[in-house]
Assembly symmetry: C2
DNA sequence: CATTCCAGAGAACAGTTGTTAACTGCATGG
DNA sequence: CCATGCAGTTAACAACTGTTCTCTGGAATG
């Protein structure tokens, strides 16, 4: 029961990480539901049976990938929502941060976008769970913003959901655009900024509506 | 070279449709990239080799499924954008239409949501192409709406894209919610309506912004 | 009626898959 | 220093995959 330990556990972690990395790379051209256990171990250079020392199945590995991919996304969200400045600055900064994340972790972005609606149930649910946490966090941040005075809880959450979905959509579009020249990327980033702007305008006038439910 | 013909071609179409139907059903629990040719023919009850009389590969069948799935979506979009009435009515009607489509063609909705970012390149591109057509169509409809007076072309297209993505997202969420009781469905539909409302508010005040680029 | 066409069947192929069992060698803990 | 734990190996399994070639029977054609 050595919570800290030496060469032994370190090597195991290394192999485990190699499996995750290899899987992520193989998933560039296919979905998780078609990823084979042998395929992964072959890429790592270990025997197929060694896989079971780390994961019970490929689905299990998929869930671990969810935690890795969305874990790296968590700090970015915190940064975005805590960014100060006027609306236009915040939007530009948000798009920049998303684009930076796509550049830094393209495979993670692809994995989440693909498996969010993918063919493996447990992975879908793991992603959904993480995204709900993000939504709640964003909703909380929005709630403590003076601009949200008078907003109901449900309205805050629907706005948070809109932001989270928009962020994922933008990340995925930027990833696809990476293949098509710098101009295409700029176009996608510009469109994403416009959409955030429109949402921002809607937010600013949300309580103006006749018959508001607040 | 009989362009019209009898029993022969009719039977072929029937088998072809059976392949499409079987594939769609098998795709409930997996992604296209893991769907096997033999798996499909087994479900239909024909020999594996007969598959090649209809499709060159499973990817090919996937492209055919895109046309089937998004073809059925086309008229619905036309209906939504041509709906008359005030903002709130239109939103309610749009959500109803989407919910109705999800009920009528759940497998199609699942297929599109899953394979839009899925592991098969040609299918992704086919879906992307169709969605761009939808976006252009919605953009055009928005342009001929008096409410869009003074809007630039790029702004119209970004709004259209927002609507199309929102529609798909809502459809997918409704599909997932189908498993979780009628209350869950109502909650999802309500949230979707709120989001459309916020976009609608943003649209109404889009040109109010200081330094508008129109 | 004779001929052609072609959707589907059948058999066989070389590869691949997940999973099992029994093993080896080395870092670990007493 | 010796016994244990355990990451990784090897071999073997039944089942499955996509694709080929050859064949068949019935509709279509003239």
């Amino acid at each position: 029961m050595s919570h800290i330990s030496g060469v032994r556990q370190a090597q195991k972690q290394k192999t485990r990480q190699a499996l995750l990395d290899a899987a992520l790379e193989l998933l560039e051209g296919q979905s998780l539901s078609s990823l084979g256990l042998r395929e992964v171990t072959r890429a790592v250079g270990i025997a197929p049976t060694a896989f079971y020392r780390h994961f019970r199945s490929v689905e299990d590995l998929g869930v671990a990938l969810v935690e890795e991919a969305l874990g790296s996304l968590h700090p970015m969200i915190r940064t975005i929502v805590s960014t100060t400045g006027d609306g236009e600055e915040r939007i530009a900064r948000a798009v920049e941060l998303i684009a930076g994340h796509v550049d830094a972790h393209p495979a993670h972005v692809r994995f989440v976008a693909r498996e969010r609606h993918g063919g493996v149930r447990v992975v879908r649910e793991a992603i959904r769970g993480q995204l709900e946490l993000f939504t709640a966090e964003v909703g909380e941040a929005l709630g403590s913003d003076p601009e949200s005075a008078g907003w109901g809880e449900e309205d805050l959450l629907m706005l948070a959901q809109l932001y989270v979905d928009q962020m994922l959509m933008t990340a995925s579009l930027l990833l696809d655009a990476t293949g098509g020249g710098a101009g295409e990327r700029e176009r996608v980033a510009g469109s994403a900024a416009r959409q955030l702007r429109l949402i921002s305008v809607g937010r600013a006038h949300w309580l103006d509506r006749a018959g508001g439910d607040g």
